[in-house]
């Protein structure tokens, strides 16, 4: 019987050999595919295994990873918390089980510690047998300004966006988009709950997940007249605030039988007004005429100089702004020059226009991240202000500033005045298609001296959200004033 027993023993060994070969096949050859399979939940758990770095704005913590307690803590070591919730939602973004947005996305590898720049830190942590933490990201956001902007815009349920920048550096001081959402709800380590919450947000007619400040573009309306004025002044050094421009009650558009009226079909002075007056009152016809005279290429070039058409990353990707494609219709440029037709601008882009004028014509590259440091505080990245482009000459910029200050002091933007501060601005009330209520715009800058403004702001209040009578001067200017006051500490 020993012969067959031996054969049976060999059969047993063969079975074990087969099992071993198969285990090798799975854990060596197939391992990579199995590990990265989208159905493998471990990728999802791994997101919560590391202590992600904090996102801060000065002393204020905007996002942090908190160690979990209780029954879930073995699956998910950490949960992402956003103590400020809605106020900073469009800055921080959220950290959902399967995706992330805004800063959380743009600096994901730094926050979770897998970025190559953190290699040394990880090595040290490994030697000290410490669990590696992600890097901390400090933002340029000024909490006072952000909160003032959020509060002012959120009042009476307005939709829209506010962007405030330091014109000298390009640092973004406030970035608000409304309606907002609670990132805490989208960052739970629970796919089901997050999907439910995100469905609610997606269905919401106000699109709370949309970051209006950088990813939505609107017709800029009369605020765009500043750009038209800039192009006009750049054409000839001798032009200034007092240069007389044609201001008919209606501007006949070439090649068509329609004409361009002023707002409310009113007259603009006596048919011949100074540039500053046209800007103060926000007449349409003089700027339509300027646009017609300059032509599409000059207007487009001016807008490009203010940064439109640049692929911006602040570090989030910013949607494009442009005055639209060149049209065969020669009358189109007249409409474009007063910020209508196919001109669309993001709120950030309009803030850059104000900032460029405030900074002697130099547009600084906008940025949101002040400093990135590893978990022990060693600096990895530090913001380095960078010029984006030169929009206008110093001379033109000074002339524009003076005119914009005049708009606030004598024109449509009186509500933006701050006692003891030089404020310049331009209102805009952009028509929207279909006869709906207009968008209310306001761009401005402010500072102790008119030659060195310390803050540039752009505000848009979306169509209909502030009543049908919304206008740049009445609706948007007070919001900008609140933000500027907060930045200047007034």
């Amino acid at each position: 019987m020993n012969g067959t027993l031996k054969r049976a023993a060999v059969a047993c060994m063969l079975m074990f050999a087969l099992l071993m070969l198969n285990v090798n096949y799975i854990q060596v050859i197939q391992a990579e595919d199995l590990r990265t399979d989208s159905r493998n939940n471990r990728n999802f758990y791994a997101r919560y295994d590391v202590e992600r770095g904090r996102i801060t704005a000065g002393d204020k913590v905007l996002a942090e990873s908190v160690r979990n307690k209780g029954s879930q803590s073995h699956l998910f070591a950490f949960t992402r918390r956003y103590p400020e919730a809605e106020t900073y939602a469009h800055v921080t973004g959220f950290f959902a089980p399967e995706n992330e947005t805004e800063i959380e996305r743009a600096h994901n590898t730094l926050l979770n510690g897998t970025h190559p720049d953190l290699l040394i830190r990880r090595g040290i942590d490994l030697l000290n047998s410490q669990q590696s933490k992600g890097a901390n990201v400090d933002l340029t956001i000024m909490p006072k300004a952000q909160e003032a902007a959020y509060k002012a815009l959120a009042q009476s349920g307005k939709r829209g966006a506010v962007v405030a920048m330091n014109p000298k550096t390009g640092a973004i001081l406030a970035l608000v988009s409304l309606p907002s959402y609670d990132p805490n709800k989208l960052s739970e380590p629970n796919k089901e709950n997050v999907n439910k919450a995100s469905k609610v947000y997606e269905k919401d007619k106000g699109s709370p997940l949309l970051n209006r400040a950088i990813n939505q573009s609107y017709p800029p309306g009369s605020t765009f007249k500043v750009v038209t004025a800039a192009a006009f002044l750049e054409k000839d050094d001798s032009r200034g605030a007092q240069t007389q421009v044609e201001a008919p009650t209606r501007l006949a558009l070439p090649g068509t039988n329609i004409s361009l009226p002023n707002s409310g079909n009113s007259a603009c002075g006596s048919g011949q007004v100074s540039l500053v007056y046209a800007l103060e009152v926000s007449c349409n016809t003089p700027f339509g005429k300027i646009g017609l005279d300059l032509g599409y290429d000059a207007m487009n070039e001016q807008m490009q100089k203010f940064g439109a058409g640049e692929e911006l990353e602040i570090p989030m990707k910013v949607s494009g702004s442009s005055i639209g494609k060149k049209e065969d219709d020669p009358a189109a440029i007249a409409m474009t020059s007063i910020g209508q037709r196919s001109t669309t601008m993001t709120p950030l882009q309009m803030a850059m226009v104000a900032a460029g004028i405030a900074n002697n014509g130099v547009v600084m590259k906008p940025y949101l991240v002040n400093e990135i440091a590893d978990s022990e505080g060693t600096e990895i990245e530090k913001a380095d202000p960078d010029e984006l482009s030169t929009a206008v000459t110093e001379d033109t910029a000074r002339k524009l500033r003076e005119m914009m200050v005049s708009v606030v002091n004598n024109g449509t933007a009186r509500l933006a005045q701050i006692p003891g501060v030089q404020v310049g601005g331009k209102t805009g009330t952009a028509e929207t298609s279909g006869g709906r209520a207009p968008h209310a715009w306001f761009i401005s800058f402010a500072g102790a001296s008119v030659d060195e403004p310390e803050v540039a702001v752009s505000v848009i209040v979306e169509s209909g959200s502030a009543g049908t009578e919304a206008s740049g001067g009445q609706t948007a200017a007070p919001i900008a004033k609140a933000v500027m006051s907060a930045v200047l500490g007034r």
């Binding site: 023993a9 074990f16 854990q27 391992a31 073995h74």
Partner: protein, 459 residues
């Protein structure tokens, strides 16, 4: 007295110190693994470590003492190896329970381990001579059959997870197939020892294989019928495969005729193929086996491949070195504490751990096979061979199943999966092996007087 009898006789050694050292090693590894889990999960050595460690150590010490007293010549490797596997199973169950696996309970498993070791000791003490089991051949056969069909009986039968393989007795849920495996091994061994000559010699040669006589086919057909019956009525492909494999192996060893293996395989493959066509749940298993990662099967609610893939995801994530105990997510593998404990171990201990684990199982089986080879009587040879084989066969079926080597059928991973019946039955199995090992290695009684030319042959 001849001069030869004065020469030292080559005797198997008892190796008591080595035995104890290996046992201490096995318990030590388990305690370290236990501490490892606590350190990874909580950052501190688990509070119950001393209790668990002392508990396991104490139990094993009792088993050792019983073995030293009542089976002193037994193979010293078997008990330490079994302790190691049983202990690792305990650690994995503890780890899964700590991570929130609701059905996993290390305390229950420790209780059943204790009960298993008591059964082991009891079997060794009560069963001084295993050959008395030969007298119980037909009793064992009847008991085995009864145990197999017990889950089908009204009142005590109990259906769970779509398979009717449990019985409820006095508040305990038992899986009688685990005990049936022992009873049937005893029955087959006794029956085949009695009939093997007839089975081996009668018959005629057709083409290249020796065909048995039709009437000798009876027991084969009956066993085949029972296996298929279990498959159909209890939906338990695993047990069916286990029993049939055991029978084919034992009849082959007893008769030394390859034709039995071929006949058995043909019958089983035929039965399984028909079952696969008739019963959707058997067919599903095949589909899932062949194309597990296909989303069609993965997302199927019933009989889908999500369980299987869950285990494979874990093993893949573990890779060569594993995530380390307490640092993976084995609790996200379905049934990680029972059917899929091998995959769960693979995630945390990696390929390295699984190779070691398979080697330990392989060693246990080979020590059993050695016992069979060394045994002096045919009944012992058959029983020891059969029990060793059934252990290997069971590991092959379940581990092959969870690693997608063969279609997945639910079976217990011996000594690792959570479950009392299996632990008790397998500890008894080990006790039988140890008992036979003791008798095989025990030096034969020395002749008192010179028997001259009289010689005793043993088969």
């Amino acid at each position: 007295m001849s001069s030869e009898s004065d020469a030292p006789v080559l005797m198997p050694a008892k190796r008591r110190v080595a035995h104890l050292a290996m046992l201490a090693g096995a318990v030590g590894i388990v305690i370290l693994a236990y501490a490892n889990v606590g350190l990874a999960l909580e950052g501190s050595v688990p509070a119950g470590m001393l209790t668990y460690g002392a508990g396991l150590g104490g139990l094993v010490l009792i088993a050792y003492l019983v073995l030293a007293k009542w089976a002193p010549w037994a193979d010293p490797l078997i008990l330490p190896l079994v302790t190691l596997v049983n202990g690792l199973g305990l650690v994995m169950i503890y780890r899964i329970e700590e991570a929130g696996g609701n059905d996993a309970s290390a305390a229950t498993q420790l209780f059943w381990t204790a009960a298993g070791i008591v059964m082991f000791s009891g079997t060794l003490i009560a069963l001084r001579d295993h050959r008395m089991l030969q007298r119980l051949t037909y009793t064992a056969g009847a008991l085995g059959l009864l145990l197999l069909i017990a889950p089908l009986l009204p009142f005590i039968g109990h259906e769970n997870f779509g398979a009717r393989i449990w019985i409820n007795i006095a508040g305990f849920t038992l899986q009688p197939a685990e005990f049936a495996k022992l009873a049937l091994a005893i029955f087959f061994a006794g029956y085949l020892v009695a009939k093997r000559d007839v089975l081996a010699l009668a018959g005629r040669r057709l083409l290249f294989i020796d065909l048995p006589r039709v009437r000798d086919l009876g027991p084969v057909l009956i066993t085949w019928g029972i296996s298929v019956g279990i498959l159909v009525l209890q939906r338990d492909l695993g047990t069916s495969l286990l029993m049939f494999g055991l029978f084919v192996m034992m009849i082959y060893v007893a008769t030394q005729r390859t034709s039995w293996v071929l006949i058995g395989l043909l019958l089983f493959v035929g039965g399984a193929a028909i079952a696969g066509m008739i019963f959707s749940h058997v067919g599903d298993r095949f589909d899932v086996w062949l194309d597990a990662s296909n989303p069609i099967y993965y997302d199927r609610t019933f009989g889908g491949s999500a369980q299987l893939m869950g285990g494979l995801f874990g093993m893949g994530t573990g890779g060569i070195l594993g995530t380390g105990l307490g640092q993976g997510h084995p609790n996200s593998i379905p049934l990680s504490f029972s059917d899929f404990i091998f995959a769960a171990t693979g995630e945390e201990l990696g390929l390295t751990g699984l190779m070691a684990l398979l080697l330990v199982y392989g060693l246990i089986v080979q020590r059993g096979m050695r016992t069979a080879l060394a045994a002096r009587d045919p009944f012992s040879k058959l029983l020891a061979g059969g029990l060793s084989f059934v252990l290997a066969w069971q590991v092959f079926i379940i581990v092959g199943g969870v690693t997608r080597l063969i279609p997945l059928t639910g079976l217990v991973t011996p000594f690792m999966s959570q479950g009392g019946s299996a632990l008790l039955a397998n500890w008894i199995l080990i006790a039988l092996l140890v008992r036979m090992s003791d008798s095989a290695r025990r030096p034969p009684p020395q002749a008192i007087q010179d028997e001259g030319l009289t010689q005793v042959f043993s088969r």
